[in-house]
Symmetry: C2
Subunit: 209 residues, 2 copies
């Protein structure tokens, strides 16, 4: 995953030895997540990042060209994760309820696995450059559209009751998002990712049945 990121950005990374570069990029990105989770990306100084990642200022700047570019880099990585997810989430299920459930569940599980990125992206993507903001919004719209399409398909097959599919999709998405936005809450309560996904699915099914 980081390897891909290295290859795609090889042009702007001064360090050429792949093994070293991948190892350090990994540390840098993890450090960014750790610090941003606590104080936010804007408040993170490059000195903070050096301390946390174990690199020096000079070393760090061998991997990025500016703090802003670092933001875009991480954003890009996440976009790739999501794009792959959207491509691969086409299942061989046929029942509309099963298909919708699979879609809801897959997204929640993905956000559990890649939670640092989801959280980071939600909080920081507003601060990107104009172009990257549009791309982030496009990804957001795409995930929501996957839900909308699925609901409309179910309505067309008369499996779901007629309703405003886009509106319902938005509500489902809001519930999905809460899983990575409020993790501290769920952790405290001991809610598992499985039971949370089940709860969202049950809520959606009640509404659509």
């Amino acid at each position: 995953m980081i390897r891909e990121l290295f290859r795609e950005n090889a042009g702007s990374i001064r360090v050429k030895k792949e093994a070293t570069a991948v190892k350090n990029l990994q540390r840098i990105i993890q450090a960014v997540f750790a610090i941003s989770m606590e104080k936010g990306f804007q408040a993170m100084s490059m000195r903070d990042l050096c301390t946390e990642s174990g690199l020096s200022m000079g070393g760090l700047y061998g991997y990025i060209q500016s703090k802003e570019e670092l933001l875009a880099l991480i954003q890009g990585q996440g976009r790739r994760i999501l794009e792959r997810f959207l491509r691969e989430s086409v299942t061989d299920l046929t029942d509309p309820f099963d298909k919708l459930a699979a879609l809801i569940r897959a997204h929640i599980y993905l956000s559990e696995v890649a939670r640092p990125w989801f959280f980071f992206s939600f909080m920081e993507s507003r601060h990107l450059g104009k172009e990257d903001v549009s791309r982030a919004l496009a990804m957001e719209a795409a995930t929501e559209k996957a839900l909308t399409d699925q609901i409309e398909e179910g309505i067309a097959e008369k499996a779901f009751a007629p309703c405003d599919a886009a509106l319902i999709a938005g509500l489902i998405k809001a519930m999905q998002q809460d899983w990575y936005l409020k993790r501290w809450k769920f952790k405290k309560r001991g809610t598992s990712v499985e039971s949370y996904a089940d709860a969202v699915i049950e809520m959606a099914f009640s509404r659509l049945a």
Copy 2:
């Protein structure tokens, strides 16, 4: 509202003439919301704030003691709004469905009226001092508990089907929050606050019936 804020913080505000102080505080807070909405509180420099609010650096510091204190000030104001809301949201309705609907609706309407604060608070409260973070979390828990209690009451009266009230309350809250977190989306689609609240209520009712 700003008047209250002035009186509660009179000790740390150098300007003593109420009319002037209230007017300027109003401008300062609006400016903070405007800038933070775009680039975030951390990225907002005090010079940005001066330009936007129309005050000079010296003038500005007659109202606050530090940038950090400004954050706490705004946070405190919002907390008062929410506290008052929670006190006043006790209705004279008796039907569990009606009571729950009223609670859901009231919160969404409040977040529509005081949207800048809700959005700001969601995005920036993590960056407060330890003590203020706890207070913010406590408010969050309180609003969710109001929902939980209402659901449990309905279950006890056999109006709602038995379920994990806290989990359902969390899902409802997630949907409520989406209204102020994704306003651009709803604006683009032309979704009205009334129809959004209706949609959330319908979703909740389907699940609980």
